[in-house]
């Protein structure tokens, strides 16, 4: 496109060049106007509150002589990195950091592979009725909150009436929980991931497949050479975003589905549950700790996303996030 513009420019008279420039200016203005609602929202709702990051480094207290947002921020003492200490305090902390990253790594790989596979299968199902039906059903877990879903898991595993109660004391024994939680996560998110990919596949020009079929390409080859390359940008973007959340965890999954049963902690404690526990503990400064933890998660996420994006850009700048 840039090339054509340049070529056009070469052969244009000065007058048309001017009008060209003004057209481009008009275009820029028009698009900027489109961006404004979102940009203003971002500035007010997301950027303005960032002043609060200061609290992560403070022993934040109401300033009694003149309490209020500004008064408190200006007059609370700075404590350096003290609020971050609890994130690394003892082997339990390292254990939960390990858990968080390990679960996320599993989730990322499985969601991508299974999501793409399911999407391809759905689009290959000839009957529109069934394709629609399956999709609808697959979306149901998305409507059910973890609190409610946890009762379903409980029905199978509970010690008194549970259908699988005879296998082991599920809620006392961490073995098996990585599998249960991974399954639960897939159950909840696959439908949605799958839909994103189905929509991406739906945008592919059918003519490409037909041309390939005429050339004698097998279905498998078509998937490999047409479908996957076309939806690759989507796969990459979703994964870059997921990598940015490597140290964040789905609180409901790890808190509700495990019924917050203590003995499971070694296998199920993750960053967000760890912080939540501290937050509700009535320990002095719990709010400061939580703010610090949030900032820590952001920084790690930022580093990871930048790394992932740099790698992608190196391979193919088209697919990178920016």
């Amino acid at each position: 496109m840039i090339v054509t513009e340049g070529v056009e420019g070469l052969f244009m008279q000065p007058l048309t060049l001017n009008s060209k420039r003004s057209a481009r200016f008009k275009k820029t203005i028009a698009i900027t106007v489109m961006m404004l609602p979102g940009a203003i929202w971002l500035l007010v709702i997301r950027y303005l509150p960032m002043i609060g990051v200061v609290m992560a480094f403070q022993n934040h207290r109401p300033y009694v002589p003149n309490p209020g947002f500004w008064g408190n921020i200006i007059n609370s003492p700075f404590v350096g990195l003290r609020n971050f200490q609890f994130i690394f305090f003892g082997d339990r902390a390292w254990n939960m950091i390990f858990n968080t990253i390990a679960y996320n790594a599993f989730f990322i790989v499985l969601t991508t592979v299974l999501g793409v596979a399911l999407a391809i299968l759905i689009t290959e199902i000839g009957s529109k009725f069934f394709a629609k039906l399956y999709q609808t059903l697959m979306f149901f877990p998305f409507f059910i909150s973890w609190v409610v879903a946890s009762y379903f898991v409980f029905a199978f595993l509970e010690p008194t009436f549970g259908l699988l109660a005879h296998v082991r004391e599920w809620y006392m024994d961490p073995t098996g929980w990585p599998v249960i939680l991974t399954s639960a996560h897939l159950w909840k998110t696959l439908g949605y991931t799958c839909i994103v990919y189905v929509a991406a596949i739906a945008g592919i020009d059918q003519g490409m497949y037909e041309a390939a079929a005429i050339d004698g390409a097998s279905k498998w080859k078509q998937v490999w050479h047409i479908t996957i390359p076309t939806i690759k940008p989507m796969i990459i973007i979703l994964n870059i975003l997921a990598v940015g959340r490597i140290i964040m965890a789905d609180f409901g999954l790890f808190w509700n589905v495990t019924m917050d049963s203590g003995p499971l902690q070694r296998a199920t404690e993750v960053f967000d549950t760890y912080v939540y526990r501290v937050m509700i503990s009535n320990v002095a400064g719990a709010m400061d700790f939580a703010t610090a933890a949030g900032l820590f998660q952001s920084i790690i996420g930022f580093i990871c996303i930048m790394g992932a994006n740099a790698i992608v850009r190196k391979i193919n700048p088209e697919n990178s996030l920016f």
């Binding site: 979102g38 940009a39 709702i45 303005l48 990051v53 697959m138 877990p141 409610v148």
Partner: protein, 303 residues
Amino acid sequence: MAGRKKFRINKVSRASEALFHVIVGGFALICIIPFVFIIIIAFTGAESLRTIGYSFFPAEVTMVNFNAAFELGDQLWRSFYNSIFITFIGTFLSLLIAIMYAYGLYRTGYPLKKFFTILMFFTMLFGGGLVPFVIVIRNLLNLGDTIWAMIVPMLMAPFNVIILRTFYKTCIPESLLDAANIDGCGEFRTLFSIVVPLAKPGIATIGLLTAIGFWNDWWHALLFVRDRSLIPLQFLLMEMQRNMEFIRRNITMIGAENINFADLPTQGLRMALAVIIVVPIAFAYPFFQRYIISGMTIGAVKE
């Protein structure tokens, strides 16, 4: 005619398709069973829950839980209305913002593209924490105790915008837009008459996500709303849930005598509410799905 025939030829074998049905259908079944289960619990009597626990085959089937839910009366319907209002207005406005914002991020030759990408992307990772956020919404924008306090904070989801931008990228060749530009089509017209129809599957997908996000949100109601006439449906359920959890956590301190157990919602009532909450949004699903699937035929039309 010929194209149609080819299309039919280019299909997997019957045996493979049967296998696909088993795999996809099996997963779909796994997805729906818990919901069926919740419905069953919602119809199960307390006596049955106590004696045989959660079961697919309750000893006693009853409408008691739903009656109890409907006894919430005015509150239930008001919350229902609030949820619908928030979801409709919220989804509409946030789709509008996302469609336009994603367009700028997608359009090559737009000089501020990188700036706006980073402006948005940065907020996906960094937040300011709860306290200043609450102060911005309540004190600065003055939205406390209005229905907008539950809409404005969720108007834009950077994640969805990025997804939508990627949709534009994969589904719409930019040459098409340049051609439109040359034809004298302004950017607004290009966006709404060319891009939007072509990106319907993508828009429907994030529309669905947004709608569900609004429907399931209770957190902003908790933060900003004290007027009971404004609370959404999901908040009612969460309120019950939190009460139960709080009691569990603090039973040693409160002492059982302080709690009138009769006032606590039963498991059945909570399940009944969960069902009441899921049904409307589940019905909204086919509406979006129509567009997601309709994308499948676009390719054919193009040909």
